[in-house]
Amino acid sequence: MNVTDIAFWIFAAIAVVSGWRVFCTDSMVRASFLLMLSFIAVGLIMVLLNAPYLGIATVFMMAVEMMVMALFMVMYMMNPAGLNPMMMVHQHRFSIAAGVFVFAALTGLIVVTRFSSNPVAPDAEVVVGLGKELLGDSMLIFETAGVTLLATMVASVILSSRSGRFGEADTGAVPPPLEPGGEPAGRQPEQASGHAHHHH
């Protein structure tokens, strides 16, 4: 066992343990950043596999994304810091069954797959290769991804932003009914605008 092997096992252990702890903590912030830790460990394993760009980019992206996820988790989950302990998992039997099944299926796949033994030379210029690929054969995929991301930007702004060119987005909006043709669900807005002050 050389240093790389030891590092792999350490990162693998971190990835699995922190991924499991995500479901055991009460705090949304801790859950988000435990997930980030898990992803970072996976990213570092990718670096060990001689994919430095993909590995480090994973670390980078996951740090940003889990940060944003933490913002939204705290914003919308009751009791975000978990001051009162709560159960973070639901539908226990179904989840256990699904977990066991997926684990078995993936393990089976690993066992039956014949991985090619075509190791990348340690001095291969993988980042250059990646760049050539992006500007070569995969150009169309890559351009499509670019436009898709633009659509994502526009869509996320439309969905999340209240202010806009055409006035407030939720004017006249009512929640959907629980059964077809029924009463709108949830609390009814008192007035159309959100100018209700909090008095006590």
Partner: protein, 416 residues
């Protein structure tokens, strides 16, 4: 070794500002031997400057307990403190830096014992062993986990209507960059103020700024003295805004200028104004931030009224000022920027008047505009209407764009 080094550090000091000590404290803070901290957590000595209202005592005790050990209290110019150790007080006319240093040195070496807590060592509500998990909480949001309730139930936000938790708390009276003495009950969603109610009004204008104007009631007073008091008052107001936008060094320069004006030295404000403009002070105040309507501006009077474009100034009718061709300076926008420009303009104008007529005297009882509006009745437009909808840093800028007289009149106590 560590102790010897620590003892030579500037004294980390948190100031609890009582009434009428502000000018002295401002002088004290210019000493390089003092580090004024923004929070008691960073301080070793709690400086109680001047008299604290009886109703502020509980707040003071809480601040005291928030200082980390080793800690000590120092009373400056508070005549109540006669039963206090000699090492921990100074008369109001003394310069306390030497005493403060000695106290701090002894505190670090252990010769002066660290003070114990003043409030009971109890959680706000008993929680140990209660609730489903023994931490005081019940269900998802109920109970008192670790001694406190969870935030209040959601209400729609006044900006974007999202119904999220609200956080209600009192703030003040010993908050940095906060009108001294003011206690507000503020409701937040995130960092935006949803509502604010006055619990305790701020202190009225400080005695030091009143001296020449009070004297004018009974005797003839030099114009120079009156105008210097005005310039100093305005410079201190400017200094507060300067440190609020992250220019502490320029702020200290403004404080030093104010002290020098009071000491009858000749100073120029233009270099400070230029440095502030170069640093982007005006840009830091968003145009339109803290704009007040015309009615409020007229009711507030003083610089706030002139910043709204009304050239109303008692000095216009005074023969001595008339002879000096005095015309009031005004701005038009009536926002924070305009009030800041008004302070600068009036301070510069005041010093110009001093140099134009260094020996002029104003007759006893003459009507001369004070640095702030003197008309007494409270206005019916309140801070409670000015602050909601503002983000926290904006709210602080708006609060600090008024002088203490205007704040006092906008923050009367609600009738019980």
């Amino acid at each position: 070794m560590l102790e010897r080094l620590a003892a030579r550090a500037p004294v980390p000091l948190f100031v609890a500002m009582g009434r009428d000590r502000a000018p002295a404290v401002e002088r004290l803070l210019q000493s390089a031997d003092i580090d004024v901290t923004a929070t008691p957590r960073h301080a070793s000595i709690l400086l109680v400057a001047g008299r604290v209202r009886d109703s502020d005592q509980a707040y003071l005790d809480r601040i005291h307990d928030q200082l980390p050990h080793p800690r000590a209290t120092f009373w400056w110019g508070d005549e109540q403190g006669d039963d206090v150790d000699e090492a921990q007080r100074a008369a109001s006319f003394d310069d306390p830096v030497i005493s403060l240093r000695a106290l701090y040195r002894n505190l670090i070496s252990g010769a002066h014992a660290s003070e114990t807590h003043r409030l009971p060592d109890e959680p706000p509500a008993p929680w140990r062993g209660k609730g489903d998990h023994g931490q005081g909480g019940e269900g998802m949001m109920g109970g008192v986990p670790y001694g406190r309730m969870m935030p209040m139930p959601p209400t729609p936000d006044i900006r974007d209507g999202l119904a999220l938790d609200v956080y209600t708390t009192q703030i003040g009276p010993f908050m940095p960059y906060w009108p001294a003495g003011l206690v507000l009950e503020v409701t937040f969603q995130g960092d935006v103020i949803q509502s604010a109610e006055v619990v305790q009004p701020p202190y009225p204008p400080r005695d030091v700024d009143r001296v020449p104007f009070d004297r004018l009631l009974h005797e003839t007073t030099a114009l120079a003295q009156i105008e210097r008091a005005r310039a100093a008052h305005h410079l201190v107001c400017i200094a507060r805004l300067l440190s609020l936008v992250g220019l502490p060094t320029l702020s200290r320069r403004a404080q030093i200028l104010a002290a020098r004006v009071r000491a009858n030295e000749t100073i120029a404000i233009a270099p400070l104004r230029k440095a502030a403009a170069r640093s982007g002070l005006t840009a830091a105040l968003a145009p339109g931030l803290g704009r007040i309507d015309d009615r409020l501006a007229r009711e507030l009077g003083g610089p706030a009224q002139r910043a709204a474009g009304h050239a109303i100034d008692d000095r216009s009718d005074n023969p001595m000022y008339k002879r000096l061709d005095f015309t009031p300076v005004t701005q038009t926008q009536s926002d924070c920027r305009a009030r800041l420009a008004q302070w600068f303009d009036e301070a510069e104008q005041a010093l110009a008047l001093v140099s134009a007529a260094p020996d002029a005297m104003i007759g006893q009882g003459a009507l001369v505009e004070a640095p702030w509006a003197l008309r007494a009745p409270p206005v019916d437009y309140r801070l409670t209407e000015l602050l909601p909808g503002l983000e926290w840093s904006e709210a602080l800028l708006v609060l600090n764009s008024f002088d203490s007289a205007a704040l006092c009149r906008m923050a009367p106590l609600e009738a019980p």
